[in-house]
Symmetry: C2
Subunit: 89 residues, 2 copies
């Protein structure tokens, strides 16, 4: 499923236009993004929890050359699916 298909399904579920569904999808994704950014986590009961994670610098490997290289400290996003999401699948 891509964004266009997601918008289609949201429009069907809301019984609304695709333009309106598109705005809804944008607003939801943008709000989740801001929640992760500002609060470090977003919990959606029954779906899962997004968590901002800081990863320390570490030594990795350049797969092209095989040489060890330093991977800089970074920030990423984890997602823990809720039990009921997993049961839905």
């Amino acid at each position: 499923m891509n964004k266009g298909q997601l918008i289609d399904q949201v429009a069907a579920e809301l019984g609304d236009s695709k333009a309106s569904a598109s705005r809804a999808v944008e607003a939801v994704i943008h709000s989740i993004t801001n929640g992760i950014k500002e609060d470090s986590n977003v919990t959606i009961v029954g779906f899962g929890t997004f968590t901002k994670k800081n990863r320390a610098a570490r030594t990795g490997r350049n797969p092209s050359t095989g040489e060890p290289m330093q991977i800089r400290a970074s920030t990423t996003v984890g997602f823990k699916p809720s039990a009921s999401l997993k049961e839905t699948l």
Copy 2:
């Protein structure tokens, strides 16, 4: 951020009521859930990709007793954040 706060922010972004925002959030989450279920992945460009993952049975540990135990095969959901989501944080 919890779901109520998410709905608040979506309502602000859409300039709409909380009830309407709540329906939008529900529709988006439900549509993502269905996309994961039916297509095994949902890609939202600029946010990330949800992927249905099948995990084989394996041996784990009961942390209560220390005894080895068999973890059944299961289905879970992975999330790979997009590069631009990570840059946003």
